[in-house]
Symmetry: C2
Subunit: 350 residues, 2 copies
């Protein structure tokens, strides 16, 4: 983490002393905890940087911060928003976000993008997007760092949600690109999952991963303006029919298809109304809290499994063994199960 | 495994000697390997029982048998068939199975049913079902044993497929009930995935787990006979439209919706034709083999992960720790990640 403190001229004793004190203060968890609970956005940002850092010292402080924040968390509405590049995600989030803050809510927008190393389609780094929203005092926009494992990124986003909630944000948008595995991760950390789609199925759908559609609580057809209105309306009807063919979700909610024009500001209130109907209904039937409890417990087990796996895969010699036995399986010299046993044999004895 | 050999009167020396020899023979892998490669169905059955056994001595022999069979495997067409209880799975499999053996193919029907402990809806134990097919000399029907973990059942079914293929079966049906997690497992061991559905969406869909529809290479509307024909036809059109809205599968195949009446023997040829079109197309574009290779490698990694997990969860004291920290997560005293770390701390040091 760069903590933004300039290293002083070593000859200037007074400056060196001040530098050391500042460094010390920066590494005290109380500074961050107090700042977050006082809704200080600069300190919130710094704390998220600590959460995202892989340095053990930073991780230790981050852990203390999270522990202090967690009793103040979980009071927000968490909404996952996904869609392929080109669907108009940024424009949509900016338009809906401005509405939401206009209604008096405090909004944090977090972005997960495991594919951000690739050039096109990245949702990060693009500092000019969501210009209006980023200047809104009631909105806080934070992309997840690129690189690292998906599991790691997802974990950090989950803990970032905790910090944002403790810092007074009552609405969280979690944004993904809809082409990778991150949607399952996002689905397991939000209350409502929104899928953005373009009208005129076919080619535009190429990017969406199979299985995502069945996770959606609502599908929004974007860019329903100008010459596109009719196409968007028929897409909406098609998707409504298709969504009714899906098996009912445990929430009791039947996913809805809607249209919207972020450019013209149309359809945004209806979308928000849909989200509120969902939360009303699921709070009433108990699914809302049940889902959150399950997500937390599921996460705990998931972290355990991830750790067991990574401990194994970084173990010396395992990589070579995997390569060797993959070949044997492909040549049909061993069954997958037998190969797995041989790979594990040395490791388990320890 | 009960090997069917009666324990003799210990005073009768001759009988005791014969008993010992029989026991010894039974435990020699060569006996099974030779039998399977000679297409002996009784010995195939006995070998599958060894594969399913959890006794270490049986597992050891089973492993040798599988190793010998695996070079003779992988030459069949593997078809997964799923649908909720009441959809008419047995009748469908029997009707299609009879057609398939009539065309000169050798068919093995394997059933996975992790929920078989429950009474209604079990696909096992019901010995009267598929009466015609079970008397067909070219068909072999084998349910997976009830109980045990899903992972275990799935592994055994995979290895049972190997044995059946080595025993000359060129068509494998793997049947599941469509209400649990077993479909993902089955999907990862077959070439073609068939979902059976009833006409008149709504209530009948209740049982199908979300996400299964997007796995299907074809949806078959069953019981398209009598007063039901029109309803089945409109369901077929609805599903065809819905399937087109899904993102295209990597196989390049667009899933089809079809109707069928197993009772009247209608639609079965068209279904088989669809399966053959799929295999032709995917063999041509290379996806068929690619998918099998991936399934095998995926399986290897999956077995490793399963073993790492089960080693951990049976470790002394872990169960108590999990219960303790689940509570802390639900009370929001710790984040899921922090709880996971505390649970792992003792285990990882070892």
């Amino acid at each position: 983490m760069s903590d933004g403190i300039k290293k002083p001229d070593p000859i200037n004793r007074e400056a060196v002393q001040k530098f050391r004190e500042q460094k010390k203060k920066i590494l005290r968890p109380e500074y961050y905890i107090k700042g977050i609970l006082n809704h200080d956005r600069t300190i919130l940002s710094q704390a998220i940087t600590l959460v995202e850092s892989s340095l053990p010292t930073h991780q230790k402080i981050a852990s203390t911060i999270i522990e202090a924040c967690i009793p103040h968390s979980a009071k927000s509405l968490r909404i996952g928003i996904t869609g392929v590049p080109g669907v108009g995600k940024s424009t949509f989030i900016e338009a809906l976000g401005k509405k939401v803050t206009g209604w008096g809510r405090k909004l944090a927008v977090l972005a997960i993008d495991p594919s951000s190393e690739r050039s096109g389609g990245s949702i990060m780094g693009d500092k000019t997007r969501m210009e209006n929203l980023s200047q809104d005092p009631d909105a806080f926009i934070r992309p997840s760092p690129s690189g690292g494992s998906l599991g790691g990124v997802a974990r950090k986003t989950r803990e970032t949600i905790i910090l944002c909630e403790a810092a007074g944000f009552d609405t969280i948008f979690v944004e993904t690109v809809g082409v990778g595995q991150s949607e399952t991760a996002v689905h397991s950390m939000v209350d409502f999952f929104l899928l953005l789609m373009l009208a005129g199925a076919g080619d535009e759908l190429q990017g969406i991963k199979r299985g995502i559609m069945e996770m959606a609580d609502a599908i929004v057809i974007t860019k329903a303006d100008g010459a596109n209105v009719q196409k968007a309306d028929s897409a909406m009807i098609e998707f409504t029919n298709a969504l009714h063919l899906f098996p009912p979700a445990e929430s009791g909610w039947i996913p809805e298809a809607l249209t919207c024009s972020a450019r013209e500001g149309k359809g945004l209130e209806a979308i928000w109304q849909t989200i509120l109907s969902y939360t009303d209904r699921t709070r009433e039937n108990g699914f809302f809290q049940l889902n959150r409890d399950r997500q937390a417990i599921y996460r705990m087990y998931d972290f355990i499994d991830e750790t067991l796996k990574s401990d194994f895969y970084i173990h010396p010699g395992i990589k070579q063994k995997l390569e060797k036995y993959e070949k044997k399986v492909l040549k049909r010299e061993l069954s997958a199960y037998q190969a797995a046993q041989k790979i594990l044999s040395g490791y388990r004895k320890k």
